[in-house]
């Protein structure tokens, strides 16, 4: 079966049709192709789930001279993460751009990014990984620079500089791996088998350069300076995809790094320290933000730190939890950004100090935000609870009580998110004026995201039965 090439092909067909068809058909076409892609993902999901096939690979020859092929892995990481990309992408297309401003570009960028994300999560060799990585970076760049608002050009510049640094380090690391592995190959499975033969010093260089590259993308303290302005100034769809998927590129990268390089595991305690610092740093910075998108950005950063904890724990619980966390937090943060974007659309502001009594006029957005907060704080029966549970079981097994410390950042995250709800959403004594009336386009997206979060929270064996 060649599910992954098929999904990517469908999405590229979607891009073509969006660009060729008239502007009016932009959203329907994008929705259709994205929905087909999601359908294929679900079919693939059921197919692998029923067969319980672990590490199934799909290969199409590409540059055979260098042994580079389009190799995709279907395993416990790629299939759930593709599901995340499919859901977030579809939700972004349906609800993220209510008036279809610059509709053609916006929709095709979402489809491109979705394809990229699926390709990256499934790529079986590092060459493919790098290509998808860079396409994703550029797609996200245009979502900030061309589709964004506010001080978007500057934000896009900062984002791009950081991303270029990350890409450079990534390429450097990948080439180092290629040249120092005895059997020269980009294939992840071959590298995994042979990486222990790379000299220790070289491994450390590779580890540090790749780690920094991935930490920039996650983002993790202290490489997060691009984050808040990029998340805040991107278009709603852009914020959803950057927070929901792009930051998971980094997390997935670190996961691969831990799987590939034996030396990474010896540095696990340091990674834990970084995760602890990052979690509390993000939570504390989130308190100060008046811009709801920046607040959500720091929430996402705190969640990334939790995922990082799970990866550092590097046990089955930790890794399963980390993948579950990427899925759960990705869906949750996309929901938060979508509701903030819709609120900004209706009220012309995303600032806590200006917004008041949102729930009166925009009940669905306000309640979706509230649900997003439940999802972010790991309330049971939302997916994030399972993620938190597994990640910290793994962390406690590997690091003892110290591993549990990042969990407590949720207290601060919850405190400021509930404060925002109190200030801007409820308390309708004086409500802010409406700029544009509700279009309702986002309601199906809310439903899709909330349904997914609940489904994953109530029936975790959907994903966990996989490995």
């Amino acid at each position: 079966m060649i599910f992954f090439p098929a999904i990517i092909l469908v999405l590229f067909l979607g891009i073509l049709s969006v660009l060729l068809l008239d502007k009016r058909f932009s959203r329907p076409a994008a929705t259709l192709f994205s929905a087909i892609a999601l359908a294929i993902i679900i079919i693939m999901f059921v197919y692998y789930l029923s067969g319980r096939t672990a590490n199934y690979s799909e290969t199409v020859q590409y540059i055979s001279a260098f042994g580079i092929s389009l190799q995709f892995f279907a395993n416990g990481f790629s299939v759930p993460l593709s599901l995340l990309a499919g859901i977030v992408g579809l939700a972004a297309i349906i609800g993220g751009n209510p008036l279809q401003e610059k509709g053609k570009v916006a929709n095709s960028l979402v489809l491109l990014f979705e394809a990229t994300a699926i390709g990256l999560f499934a790529s079986g060799n590092l060459f493919l990984f790098f290509i998808f990585w860079d396409i994703g970076v550029i797609a996200a760049f245009f979502m900030i620079s061309y589709l964004g608002d506010g001080n978007h050009l500057n934000s896009a510049k900062i984002y791009l500089l950081y991303s270029l640094l990350a890409s450079a380090l990534l390429l450097f690391g990948i080439l180092m791996i290629y040249f120092y592995t005895p059997i020269r190959s980009f294939s992840i499975s071959i590298i995994e088998a042979n990486a222990q033969m790379i000299p220790l010093g070289v491994q450390e260089v590779i580890f540090v350069s790749l780690l920094i590259a991935f930490m920039i993308k996650m983002p993790v303290f202290p490489f997060h300076s691009w984050m808040q302005s990029a998340y805040s100034d991107a278009s709603t769809q852009g914020s959803m995809l950057i927070a929901g998927l792009l930051s998971k590129f980094g997390a997935y990268g670190i996961l691969l790094l831990f799987l590939m390089l034996p030396v990474a595991r010896t540095y696990a305690p340091y990674i834990l320290i970084i995760a602890i610092a990052s979690a509390f740093y993000a939570a504390l910075n989130g308190i100060r933000k008046d811009d709801l998108k920046r607040m959500a950005a720091f929430t996402s950063m705190a969640e990334s730190a939790v995922i990082l904890t799970g990866i550092a724990a590097f046990s089955i619980f930790g890794l399963d939890g980390a993948v579950y966390g990427m899925l759960a937090f990705g869906l949750g943060i996309a929901l938060l950004f979508l509701s903030i974007g819709s609120i900004e659309f209706m009220f012309g502001s995303k600032h806590m100090s200006i917004l008041n009594g949102v729930v009166k006029e925009a009940a669905s957005s306000a309640y979706s935000f509230l649900f997003g907060v439940f999802a972010a704080t790991g309330v049971p029966i939302t997916a994030a609870f399972i993620a938190d549970l597994l990640i910290f079981i793994g962390a406690d097994k590997s690091f003892g009580v110290l591993g549990l410390i990042p969990l407590f950042s949720i207290i601060i995250v919850g405190a400021y998110l509930y404060y925002a709800i109190n200030k801007s959403f409820f308390d309708t004594e004086s409500s802010v004026e409406i700029v544009r009336y509700e279009t309702g386009h986002w309601n199906p997206s809310y439903a899709l995201l909330i349904f997914s979060i609940l489904a994953l929270g109530i029936v975790p064996s959907l994903i966990l039965g996989f490995r």
Binding site: I316, D320, P380, D388, I393, L407, S461
Partner: protein, 586 residues
């Protein structure tokens, strides 16, 4: 497995409330009442016919480890289930009359059903995984219900403050769950209770006790409970009598033997005593009709934990059960009285009952019960506690608390009575709908009938019978008469004293706690300010790289100016350097 069916009616009703069309919104109330009555019927069946057993329902598995939800039909769990199932139909019926605006029914009943379902699930949970689902479910549903009238600033703020504190306990509980799971491979209550004391379990249970304190609003987490009065009265009645705050105490009762072995009971005792003292002091000087009752709940919860701290199961359980009835009754009375007085909440401006005799007399029964007058059920709880006092200081403390209780609760009823006699408010009393009065009458009967528990509870829970002796009841009666008499003298006869100055601050100790919180949040804000500045600093450092690059670029630009003479000069200089290098190196 069968126990889970008890959740079905409320969950279905909640779903119904969510999906029902606006035209049929009146149905939500009836469906909810029907569901809660059905729940009650199931609970009764379980209570009498279900043998004590526990079941594991597997949820999911990771790496061969099975995460399962464990439920039980132990006697003590069935007792709690019974209480919740008994109170919830009454609250649901009362709410029908309470809400004037029919539009509010839908959201209210949806949230209320979820709240009830969470508590029912809590009642039958037998491991920490089941527990935390119910525990956090209670947290968020109570958040929604306290902030039900979110258009009022105070209600929205009260809801936020409650969830901000509850979330501390939730996270602590999750951390404890993870530690226990890793240490023992299971989270079953029965298994963990039997474990010997150790470092891991001590740490985990320190967190559990923290979670209990947040849930049961113990010092220093007690600030949210009085503010939670901003929610609708049926919510207060439910929250204070049988759900939410009782969850923490119930957990403490279940784990009492283990807490004893771990040496955590003294902590529970001290915190409970402090909370009880705070509750009594604030109740004695309060003027908000519901808030006095809220402080009274603080006192009750504190006393329950004191009983736990004294390692007396029977006292804790008796207090637990009897408090449910009289507190639910008093809250419903308070709601009716407020409704009859146009939502006036200051006891100095209220009339007793808006002319409805049933409301008044049920309130009197509630007052007598909470004060601990002999044949009423409240008496049992007080007695159980007083006989379990281990030393003279505890006894004196309990006597003082008891004195304070009878003082503030008689004050609570005497002041509105006096207002009625003097005819302070001229407005005509509104008619009380039957749906509001009937639950009060039922509860009043329950308060009276619950005295019979004395004969059943010890046997049902398999604990040795307690004897109150003769001295304790006499002392108790003297205390009630003293406290009530003082209140009569001061407030019914009108020799009112005003508490002010430094004493007022001490008495309103809840304000001190709130001040402590404000200080704490200021501190966190300060730290976050530092973090923000630091964030800016990092940004600057990275921006500096950019500036340096741009600066270098500007300088380098001059090299490629297109001036051929300059190029030639550079070539010559380069050649010279190369030659020198070759000469010296080779």
């Amino acid at each position: 497995m069968f126990e889970l069916i008890v959740l079905a009616p409320t969950l279905i009703a909640a779903l119904f409330c969510i999906v029902v069309v606006d035209k049929k919104v009146r149905l939500t109330g009836y469906v909810s009442i029907l569901a809660s009555l059905l729940t009650f019927a199931i609970a009764v069946y379980l209570f009498f016919y279900m043998p004590s057993s526990s079941t594991n329902i597997s949820w999911f598995s990771v790496a061969g480890h099975l995460f399962s939800i464990s439920i039980t039909s132990d006697h003590i769990n069935m007792m709690l289930l019974m209480l919740v199932a008994f109170i919830s139909p009454l609250i649901m019926i009362y709410s029908m009359g309470f809400f004037d605006d029919i539009k509010e029914h839908r959201r209210f009943y949806a949230e209320m059903n979820l709240f009830a379902a969470s508590m029912l699930f809590f009642a039958i949970s037998a491991n920490f995984i089941a527990l935390i689902i119910a525990w956090e479910g209670l947290g968020i549903t109570s958040y929604l219900l306290i902030g039900f009238w979110y258009h009022k600033k105070d209600a929205a703020t009260a809801a936020r403050e409650s969830i901000s504190i509850i979330i501390i306990g939730d996270v602590a509980m999750l951390a404890a769950l993870i530690m226990l799971l890793n240490a023992y491979g299971t989270t079953s209550f029965a298994y963990i209770s039997a474990q010997p004391a150790g470092y891991q379990i001590y740490l985990a249970f320190a967190l559990v006790v923290l979670a209990i304190f947040t849930k049961s609003a113990q010092f220093p987490f007690s600030g949210w409970l009085p503010k939670a009065m901003e929610g609708p009265t049926p919510v207060s009645a439910f929250l204070h009598s049988s759900t939410m705050v009782k969850a923490g105490v119930f957990l403490a009762i279940i784990f009492m033997p283990l807490l004893f072995r771990l040496g955590l009971l003294p902590l529970v005792f001290v915190i409970g005593a402090v909370t009880a003292a705070i509750g009594v002091l604030n109740a004695m000087s309060g003027s908000h009709i519901k808030r006095i009752l809220a402080y009274s709940t603080l006192e009750d919860l504190g006393l329950m934990l004191v009983a736990v701290g004294l390692n007396s199961v029977i006292a804790a359980v008796l207090l637990f059960i009897t408090q449910t009835f009289y507190k639910a009754l008093l809250f419903l009375d308070a709601g009716s009285i407020m409704k009859a007085n146009n939502e006036e909440s200051n006891i100095f401006k209220l009339r007793e009952s808006g002319g409805n005799k049933l409301v008044f007399w049920t309130a009197v029964i509630g007052v007598l019960s909470i004060a601990g007058v002999f044949p009423l059920s409240g008496f049992l709880g007080k007695m159980g506690l007083e006989v379990s006092a281990t030393n003279i200081y505890t006894y004196i403390f309990l006597v003082l608390v008891e004195l304070g209780t009878s003082f503030y609760i008689f004050r609570w009823i005497f002041i509105p009575m006096r207002n009625s006699e003097r005819g302070k408010i001229a407005e005509s009393p509104s008619n009380m709908p039957a749906s509001m009065v009937v639950p009060q009458v039922v509860l009043a009967f329950a308060v009276v009938a619950a005295t019979a528990l004395y004969f059943f509870v010890p046997g049902y829970l398999g604990i040795s019978n307690v004897s109150f002796g003769y001295i304790a009841p006499v002392v108790e009666t003297v205390l009630v008469i003293t406290g009530g008499g003082t209140a009569y003298y001061l407030y019914k006869k009108g020799h009112k004293v005003r508490i002010n100055g430094g004493l007022f601050t001490v008495v309103h100790s809840i304000d001190l706690i709130n001040a402590f919180y404000i200080l704490l949040s200021k501190f966190v804000l300060l730290v976050s300010k530092v973090a923000e500045l630091f964030d800016y600093l990092i940004y600057i450092i990275f921006a500096l790289f950019g500036f340096v690059t741009v600066f270098l670029g500007r300088k380098m630009r001059n090299i490629v100016s297109g001036n051929l003479n300059l190029y030639t000069a550079w070539i010559v200089i380069g050649m010279v350097i190369l030659i020198i290098a070759m000469v010296f190196v080779l």
